[in-house]
């Protein structure tokens, strides 16, 4: 632990820290452009210069390891002049176009110029100009503004694991580009927009739409996958203008996926903003009263056991709870929360959570993926696994192979391999046995199979057998508190609503398949869909169908009554991520038109149909919910769920494992309504008419 002096103040920093970090520890702010905590060190902008005793020249603090006895000064005239000099050089070729630059108001160069700029330029020569580079539909480039910090290159290489950007030429001619200006393929590429310290890389969909100071900033959570990434929704008036990441070390660090960042335009398209009722085969606009009447009418003569409910992937706990309670008043207990047909069951929470935690999994030194493609199912999480691999973790996978951006030992696309591993007949069993912290990730794809429950049980058995669960090792003395407990059994969900749905017990015998079967056979007379759009609803053609949700998507195809609900940016809501972490979403904008928060819809409906629900406001609802699920009071903690029995022992048939996420950009109704996502999908699958730069 080196001890050094910064501006006369003594600080001690962990070994391996840089002088810049030491200065920060001493409370000094160091200007920087190229340095970023989460990227490799480049040391190429020189903005972070400080003075070091016995060094004739100022040093780049970001690239200098802190050493014992260093004497650093950050407040001298030399330091100030050095930084001013660096900044003047940077500004030589930087255009003075802040008034038409989207970065204006949140630009590092602008900010540092306030501190170290000269106010007027001494440069009379022509400025350098660089042509824009095509990088795909998400990133807009104005390359004349680039200051060559290489953060974007390093992000794609170090974090995203897809080194697609590079710097061609050198010196003054240096240009940042992808290979022959092809579109970037990373699902995390949007983060370079945040990283770029100037306005060289900005958001294409947001370009020229707003200024940061006009926006209302609301801190909330994302629902595009089951990670529960922390986001900030920037809104103006009634409109969501953009989505940015918020720092949460244990969840998304400071990254978000492109779906999280860019699908927001889907919130404005194909929205259900008023109730609809089918009359004589055609959907017609209706008032809430008329819609409720139509539901009462439609349910006449139908018994509770002839009704089913299905909840979707984006729903918050409150809505699902009110939905279930209201259906209960009709005598219906058949509410299904696994619309993709996975065989997870409520009961033992440890059975359907990511027990090691999203951050905790980094302790693993051997990891088995079972039917999961984390790159598409949770891109931000995948970047974490990539880091683990770099740090020496071995990863193997049973299931379809794909490029995860890191080395994976593909064991084969055959579920029966799980049995082989369990019997210890596979070389990877040894690897897991020998590992100090072995872990597995069970994907939804594996659980979707007909024998999903057996796979679930086998995964549990594997975890038991290979010592993936270790209780807390008791430590002797106080410092040596022992190692914390380890549970390497992890389920990676793809739906933001799923853990909540399972906690509410929304699982029925036979699952969604049985519901569809009964609908086809005429045993089911009425079905209620709460934002459920991920399966083929043609079976409901002759069933009285009510859709409550946000978008005119699959679920409304055969709907007889449609009730408009609020999307995740428009309501308060509790979400539990794949770890079971409880997080609160906050509304950034009001729901469009007549749309309402989900639970209020069922509360209002309960006055007309069924029995009145016993809560009039959200607090009352939460109080009841809290009685049923006491853990929702523990906000933002990773729960330590108790281990138990789960799964159903049985044979695992040999055969491939389906994929849970086929087309990354189209996994939910919001994303499917988004033009940006459609463009990305087209680029991904080569169906875009746009020039990719490689075809000319």
């Amino acid at each position: 632990m080196p001890k050094l002096t910064v501006n006369g103040k003594e600080v001690e920093v962990p070994a391996g820290a840089t002088v810049l970090q030491a200065c920060e520890a001493a409370g000094e702010e160091i200007p920087r452009f190229c340095y970023h905590e989460r990227l490799s060190i480049a040391g190429n902008c020189r903005m972070c210069l400080v003075e070091m005793e016995k060094s004739p020249k100022p040093i780049a603090s970001c690239a200098m390891p802190a050493a014992d006895g260093m004497v650093i000064r950050t407040d001298t005239e030399t330091v100030k002049k050095a930084r001013e000099g660096v900044l003047e050089f940077l500004l030589i070729n930087h255009p003075l176009d802040c008034p038409i630059c989207d970065q204006g108001g949140e630009c590092d160069l602008q900010d540092e110029t306030m501190g170290y700029g000269r106010g007027a330029s001494r440069y009379a020569e022509n400025k350098r100009a660089v042509t824009e580079k095509y990088m795909g539909p998400l990133i807009k480039t104005v390359m004349t503004r680039c200051i060559h910090c290489t953060r974007c290159i390093r992000f794609l290489q170090d974090v995203a694991g897809v080194p697609e950007l590079g710097a061609i030429y050198r010196g003054e001619k240096m240009q940042i580009t992808s290979y022959l200006e092809s579109a970037l393929t990373s699902e995390l590429q949007g983060n370079v927009i945040d990283l770029c310290p100037v306005g060289a890389l900005t958001s294409a969909p947001y370009s020229f739409h707003g200024r940061p100071w006009e926006l209302r900033k609301v801190e909330t959570v994302d629902v595009m996958d089951a990670l529960g990434s922390n986001i900030r929704v920037d809104a103006r008036g009634m409109e969501v203008m953009r989505v940015l990441p918020r720092l949460h070390e244990d969840v998304n660090e400071e990254w978000i996926s492109d779906k999280t960042r860019f699908a927001y335009d889907g919130l404005k398209e194909r929205r259900l903003d008023r109730p609809w009722v089918r009359r004589n085969g055609r959907l017609e606009e209706a008032s809430w009263e008329e819609a409720f009447e139509a539901i009462a009418e439609g349910l006449k003569g139908i018994n509770g056991d002839e009704i089913a409910g299905v909840v979707g992937d984006l729903n918050e706990l409150e809505g699902m709870y009110a939905f279930r309670e209201w259906l209960k008043t009709l005598g219906c207990t058949r509410v299904e929360g696994r619309q993709d047909g996975t065989r997870l069951e409520p009961g033992v929470r440890a059975g359907y959570l990511m027990n090691s935690g999203i951050a905790g999994i980094e302790r693993a030194d051997a990891l088995l993926l079972i039917g999961s493609d984390p790159r598409l199912e949770a891109p931000v999480f995948n970047a974490r696994i990539a880091r683990m691999v770099r740090n020496g973790c071995r990863v193997a996978r049973i299931g379809g192979s794909s490029d995860l951006t890191y080395a994976v030992e593909e064991l084969g696309d055959d579920a029966a391999l799980l049995t082989v591993l369990l019997e210890g007949k596979h070389p990877f069993t040894k690897v897991l046995e020998k590992a100090e912290h072995p872990a597995l990730i069970l994907g939804q794809g594996a659980l979707m199979r007909a024998d999903g429950a057996a796979i679930w049980a086998a995964a549990r058995a594997l975890a038991e057998k290979l010592g993936m669960r270790v209780a807390e090792k008791a430590g002797g003395s106080e410092e040596d508190a022992g190692e914390p407990a380890w549970n390497g059994f992890n389920v990676l969900h793809t739906a933001a609503a799923r853990v909540g749905a399972l906690d509410l017990g929304l699982a029925t015998e036979g699952g969604i398949a049985a519901i569809l079967e009964d609908a086809r056979e005429g045993r089911l007379k009425a079905v209620f869909l709460l934002g459920a759009d991920e399966f083929d609803t043609s079976a409901f053609a002759n069933v009285f169908t009510v859709y409550v949700g946000t978008h005119g998507d699959e679920g409304v195809r055969h709907a007889d009554v449609i009730l408009p609900a609020a999307a995740y940016t428009e309501k308060h809501g509790i979400y539990l991520n794949t770890e079971g972490r409880v997080q609160w979403a906050e509304p950034a904008v009001p729901p469009p038109g007549d749309a309402r928060e989900d639970w209020t819809i069922f509360r209002a409906l309960s006055d007309v149909v069924g029995r009145r629900l016993p809560f009039d406001d959200r607090a009352a609802l939460l109080a009841r919910l809290g009685e049923e699920l006491p853990f929702i009071a523990e906000i933002d903690v990773k729960p330590d769920a108790e281990w138990g029995e789960f799964g159903r022992a049985g044979d695992i048939a040999s055969g491939p494992i389906p994929t849970a996420v086929g087309r990354f950009h189209f996994t939910n109704p919001i994303a499917r309504a988004s033009r940006t996502m459609a463009e990305c999908d087209a680029v991904c699958h080569g169906t875009s008419g746009e020039a990719t730069g490689t075809n000319g």
Binding site: A129, K133, G166, R170
Partner: protein, 200 residues
């Protein structure tokens, strides 16, 4: 304006010739397998030689494939060094040094000779024979002005001598490289002037 990079396609896919494939093996053997990306520079060099003096898109992608590198990383190297040509280049690459010593000793005259022979800076002659570039110091200033044509240096040039050299190339001959005046390497013109007793 720094423009888009146009990497030129070659009609043919690129692959190393049999002889060069053996050379590739030798080059790769110098680096540990996990660091084989270090071979990108020598491989590009070898490929440029085989490919008639320039690096095509096919070359870049071939080498990227061999070294498990994303093609952008190979392109970075190929664009960083001015010695790699990213466009087809004439049969002979004429590189005239224009740095101070050569300039003081008359590189302008050398350029004039080139111009009169129909060579233009940065371009290939219509017959595809010559490509003219101006380069910085070639490290042979003692015999300035200096011109590098492919792998050979032609030194002690003036208008007439440069013209004669280009004409010889045009006739299909290969003029003798080295000093174009009466001297051995960098020794004084007309023979040694000191330590004569040591010259046998």
């Amino acid at each position: 304006m720094h423009r888009h990079l146009k990497v030129v396609e070659d009609g043919e896919p690129f692959a190393f010739s049999e002889d060069n494939a053996a050379e590739v093996k030798r080059i790769l053997a110098k680096y540990p397998p996990a660091r084989k990306r270090s071979a990108v520079l020598p491989l590009l060099h070898l490929a440029q030689r085989q490919n008639g003096g320039w690096v095509s898109r096919q070359v870049i992608e071939h080498i990227a494939g061999m070294l498990d590198l994303p093609p952008i990383k190979v392109l970075e190297v190929a664009t960083f060094y001015t010695m790699f040509n990213l466009k087809p280049i004439g049969r002979y690459h004429v590189q005239v040094c224009g740095t101070t010593p050569c300039w003081l000793r008359g590189s302008d005259e050398v350029f004039r000779a080139c111009r009169d022979m129909g060579l233009e800076k940065g371009r290939t002659t219509d017959d595809g024979l010559f490509h003219l570039s101006e380069v910085e110091c070639l490290g042979a200033c003692v015999n300035a002005p200096v011109v590098q044509i492919d792998d050979d240096y032609y030194e002690d040039l003036d208008y007439e001598r440069m013209k004669a050299i280009l004409e010889a190339f045009r006739r299909g001959e290969t003029p003798k490289p080295g000093p174009q005046v009466d001297r051995q390497f960098a020794a004084p013109e007309g023979g040694p002037t000191t330590l004569k007793e040591h010259v046998k």
